[in-house]
């Protein structure tokens, strides 16, 4: 019971938060509620007024019959007071006709009203009469309506229509919500192998059909992406063999031309470039496939940073690298090669696009709900047009040394996504590009 209440409460607060009038649930609820309440109320009012008039007619007839009986008994006994008696003691004014005659016994000057209630009466003496009794004026219409609106029945109608409104909209909206949550998971977790909830896709109605269609679409996209990756990977692999031969052939040419022949140096350099490009494509496609191949391991973050800093010192001895981990003993449990690769690519990017004198900082700290790793350079930063495209494949910054292939940052982002985290880039207010990696707290090794 409490669980139901809690769910209701959370549902309500969620509904109120997100512009409740925009939500399908409340729209449907309102429409269903209005239609059913209005419909049921009018039926109720119509029926109750019908029942009412029949009832009043019956009461009127009973009263009139009693009075007419009394009057006619006296009339037949030739009691001259019969009329007066009738007039004094009874409010009802009756027109009494002997059966088959148009001449009333009653000496009223006016004729009975056309809509008067008519019934037949047989006295004990056996004579038959026809009695006309005018209907009394009805009460004010609005009064009666108000009386009915505040009746118990009306309350019941409201409760029933509210419940049916809630039930119907929940029936339609809940599966839609499930489906949309599912689709969100699909693209957020980048895992196209996810399929809709069984209960949803087993439904035989339109919603079940919709969810099955979604599943089929996801399957199609998954295979299409897989094929694309496979093709890319196969092509890269196939390119490696001729490239390896080309390099050896270039080496042979070098042996003949001499070591410092500019032509052979040039050939070698281009070979290296091709080689690097192929390696990056292979790495990129491999990361697209889940897992990246490595198992999660526990490691010390400071140690990782030290290794990265050593690599930087190796490549650019002039570059100053600051590394800080807070708390210093932070240990993580994740696929280390992926994180290392992401950081390495980020660093690589900085080394390539910033002057050697620009310092590099790499910090890790614990935030409220994430492990945050920030990599910041003190270079010129990235132009605002390029910034949103930074993680797209084959996007290259101008002013680089022309050695990149535009894959490094996409690979970094892929790697971090594989780890269940996020990678963002922005220009630091004090200058330089800052990459922010956020990893879920679950990667912390206790």
């Amino acid at each position: 019971m409490t669980a139901v209440l809690q769910r209701l409460q959370s549902g309500l607060s969620r509904a109120m938060d997100g512009g409740w009038y925009r939500q399908l649930f409340w729209k449907m609820f309102l429409v269903i509620w209005l239609v059913s309440a209005v419909g049921m109320t009018s039926v109720f009012l119509y029926l109750s007024s019908r029942v009412d008039s029949v009832h009043r007619q019956e009461v009127l007839e009973v009263r009139a019959r009693g009075q007419a009986q009394l009057m006619l008994e006296r009339y037949e006994e030739a009691d001259p007071r019969w009329l007066r008696e009738g007039r004094d003691h009874h409010r009802l004014r009756l027109w009494i006709y002997p059966q088959g005659s148009d001449q009333p016994l009653t000496p009223w000057r006016r004729d009975p009203p056309a809509d008067a209630h008519v019934f037949n009466l047989t006295t004990d003496a056996g004579a038959e009469y026809r009695v006309h009794v005018p209907r009394p004026p009805e009460g004010v219409f609005a009064d009666r309506l108000l009386g009915r609106l505040f009746s118990l029945q009306m309350g019941l109608i409201l409760v029933v229509s509210t419940l049916s409104g809630l039930l119907l909209s929940a029936l339609v909206v809940r599966p839609i919500r499930q489906l949309s949550r599912h689709v969100r998971n699909l693209h957020q977790q980048q895992d196209l192998s996810l399929r809709a909830d069984d209960r949803l896709s087993r439904r035989r109605d339109e919603l079940g059909e919709l969810s099955r269609e979604f599943d089929q679409m996801a399957e199609y996209v998954e295979t299409a992406l897989l094929n694309q990756q496979r093709l890319l990977q196969d092509v890269s692999h196939e390119l490696r063999a001729p490239l390896a031969r080309l390099q050896v052939a270039a080496g042979l040419a070098e042996q003949r031309l001499g070591d410092d022949n500019p032509l052979s140096r040039r050939i070698n350099r281009e070979c290296e470039r091709l080689n690097g490009l192929i390696a990056e494509i292979v790495g990129y496609t491999r990361l697209q496939q889940a897992g990246g191949g490595a198992d999660a391991e526990v490691f010390d973050v400071e140690q990782l940073f030290a290794e990265l800093a050593a690599d930087v010192r190796f490549r650019q001895p002039q570059r100053s690298v600051g590394a800080e981990v807070q708390p210093p003993q932070m240990r993580l449990r994740l696929q280390r090669p992926l994180l290392q690769r992401a950081l390495h690519n980020g660093i690589d990017n900085a080394l390539r696009h910033t002057p050697e004198m620009a310092a590099l900082n790499i910090n890790a700290c614990l935030e409220e709900n994430a492990v945050e790793i920030r990599l910041r350079d003190r270079g010129p930063g990235v132009s605002p047009e390029l910034l949103p495209k930074l993680f797209d494949p084959f996007v290259r910054g101008s002013g680089g040394h022309g050695e990149g292939y535009g894959l490094g940052m996409s690979i970094a982002q892929r790697a971090i996504i594989q780890l269940g985290g996020q990678l963002e880039a922005h220009n630091h207010p004090d200058g330089g590009l800052e990459l922010v990696i956020r990893l879920p707290l679950s990667v912390l090794a206790s």
């Binding site: 050896v248 042979l252 390696a279 491999r286």
Partner: protein, 235 residues
């Protein structure tokens, strides 16, 4: 001096021909086979001075070949791995390959590695880098003459690279040796960027020591950002 025999094991026939040409020009005596079975058959006829082994071969992979031949043939092996296949590299080194090179590679680099590996497998190290007498530290005895390591009188199986590395570390026990120095003295080449070969060798030795001692082994310490150190006995 007799020219060195080099066995190229790679399924790419044309590449083997080109490489053989290249190495012949540099004064080696290359020979090529194109699958693991042929390599084993060739080894059975006589062991060459060095083997260059491609990890990615159809059928039996280079790693399987390495595993099969290791107990019988003790020749130095340089393996060629796909670029970015860190796992292959580490597994290969753990299975006793002496060095690795990403393929495709510049033949000049391959040549340098071949020379380095040959130098270290013959001399057992640069002059003066090998201790002259038996070292005894923390219950580990290392005999440079017999090239044998014993823990509590039980012999410990080490590859030649691992032996040289352990000898260097034990000889300089208490001192921190940088990765640069270790790579130069043990692998006879310069440390390159993102070079993890030394780390793999060290972790391999640690594992072997741990299995031999039967408990966690912290005799070789990692000094962050500096290198490795063999812990000196506390007195």
């Amino acid at each position: 001096m007799q020219s060195k025999q080099i066995l190229l094991v790679d399924d790419d026939v044309e590449l083997c021909e080109l490489l053989a040409d290249y190495l012949r020009h540099e004064g080696f005596e290359p020979e090529s086979v194109h699958n693991a079975e042929a390599a084993l058959a060739r080894l059975a006829q006589g062991v060459p001075d060095l083997m260059v082994l491609d990890i990615m071969m159809p059928g039996q992979s280079g790693l399987e070949l390495l595993q099969q031949m290791r107990p019988r043939f003790k020749l130095p092996v340089i393996m060629l791995t796909g670029r970015g296949d860190d796992i292959d590299r580490i597994v290969g080194l753990e299975m006793g390959a002496d060095d690795y090179l990403a393929k495709p590679c510049n033949p000049r680099e391959l040549l340098a590695r071949i020379r380095a590996v040959l130098r270290r497998s013959q001399g057992g190290g640069a002059p003066g880098s090998m201790p002259q007498h038996v070292l005894l530290l923390q219950g580990i005895s290392l005999d440079p003459g017999l090239r044998e390591v014993r823990i509590n009188d039980e012999p410990l199986e080490l590859t030649s690279t691992e032996f040289n590395l352990l000898a260097l570390l034990m000889q300089n026990a208490g001192q921190v040796l940088s990765k640069e120095l270790l790579t130069e003295r043990v692998l006879h080449r310069k440390l390159t960027a993102y070079d993890r070969a030394m780390d793999v060798h060290v972790s391999r030795i640690r594992q072997k020591l741990a299995t031999a001692v039967g408990e966690e082994c912290d005799l070789i310490k990692t000094v962050r950002g500096q290198g490795y150190q063999f812990v000196r006995e506390e007195r």
